[in-house]
């Protein structure tokens, strides 16, 4: 501190030149005594380029080797995707485990729901299959009645020989009625299927069934229980006796297999509509 001038401005001006040179000399002194005013950049370049093997350099190199090694190992183990849990802490692992448990629980629930749905769908498709089978079965049964499908089964064959031309439509109708009353399920007469709407008319020495003219001998093929059908025809005063009175000969044969294969086209009714009620 100089006491030459007491004014603050002068004092400061005096002080600064004294201290300024001191700072660079203190900074540069420990490492670079030769060049006291070296900038940081110059020091960096100087330290980098002429490689000097000094104790300090070697120790620092050793430490940096350790740092680089640890860094690389850590980075490698961290980026190892298959081992993502390796470096995780205990509480993180617990949390991850909990999350996984939750997730598997959710997935389990979802699986149960989907299985239930699958079962329902299978059931409903089973039901649909069952309904379809029943529909097919019903179609066959109705087809036997409607004459759209062939039928076979036990039954009888009745042959009416009419050499004199005395058999009339009403006698055949009686025979059909009698057979139906005895439980006949499918009937055909000389290749014409007898169904619900069948009508018989007399036509010039012969008989027409549903407009198809048929000639003697009239051959009835009937499916039903033979033990019921035959007696029904043979009862006293019944069909057989009535026909024999008219000079026709009737023969009835039981058979375990009668094939009724005369068919009739399915016909859409013109007026009648099914009423669901």
């Amino acid at each position: 501190m100089s006491n030459q001038d007491a004014t603050p401005e002068n004092r400061l001006r005096k002080e600064l030149p004294e201290e300024v040179p001191a700072i660079p000399s203190q900074q540069g002194a420990p490492e670079e005594p030769a060049e006291p005013v070296l900038t940081g950049r110059q020091r960096l370049v100087k330290g980098l380029w002429p490689p000097r093997v000094t104790r300090a350099q070697l120790i620092v190199a050793l430490l940096l080797f350790g740092l680089g090694f640890g860094l690389a190992v850590q980075v490698a183990s961290n980026s190892d995707s298959g081992n993502a849990l390796r470096g995780a802490r205990q509480e993180d692992l617990v949390r991850i485990l909990d999350e996984l448990d939750d997730r598997s629980q959710r997935l389990e629930d979802e699986k149960e729901g989907l299985e239930k749905q699958r079962d329902e769908l299978e059931n409903s498709s089973d039901q649909a299959e069952e309904a379809r089978k029943q529909t097919v079965e019903k179609e066959r049964q109705l087809g036997v009645l409607a004459g759209t499908v062939a039928a076979e089964g036990p039954g009888i064959t009745m042959t009416i020989e009419d050499t004199k031309g005395t058999v009339e439509a009403d006698m055949l109708l009686d025979a059909i009625q009698e057979l139906r009353a005895a439980g006949a399920e499918a009937i055909q007469v000389n290749g014409v299927r007898v169904v619900a709407g069948t009508y018989l008319t007399d036509s010039a020495k012969s008989v027409s069934v549903d407009g198809n003219k048929i000639n003697a001998p009239f051959r009835f093929k009937v499916i039903g229980n033979p033990q019921d059908l035959e007696p029904a025809l043979n009862i006293p005063g019944g069909v057989v006796q009535t026909l024999e009175k008219e000079q026709a000969t009737v023969s009835v044969e039981r058979s375990t297999k009668i094939v009724v294969d005369a068919l009739r086209a399915a016909k859409q009714p013109d007026y009648a509509r099914s009423s669901s009620q």
């Binding site: 330290g47 490689p51 300090a56 620092v60 640890g70």
Partner: protein, 110 residues
Amino acid sequence: MIAVLGLVVGVVAGLLVQPEIPAAVVPYLPIAVVAALDAVFGGLRAMLDGIFDDKVFVVSFLSNVVVAALIVFLGDELGVGSQLSTGVVVVLGIRIFSNAAAIRRHVFRA
């Protein structure tokens, strides 16, 4: 120059050797690496300031690593390991940034 070579050789060796990290060291290695980075940045800054001293550097490097590992160990023991290591990383990160700023001022004069 030799120091930079040491760093490069270390990285290459680590990548090539791929050693199994012992389970006991696994939690401490990342923090130790960050602490060592802090020491290295501090040393670089000191070198640019012209006050670099190898003894100081060695001591600060080793003590940084040990203290960081110790803090993590203590945190694990106390049950606040993850928070504490986050704190350590934040503090070291701030120091690295301030050192990097000083280095930048020296190197780029900006």
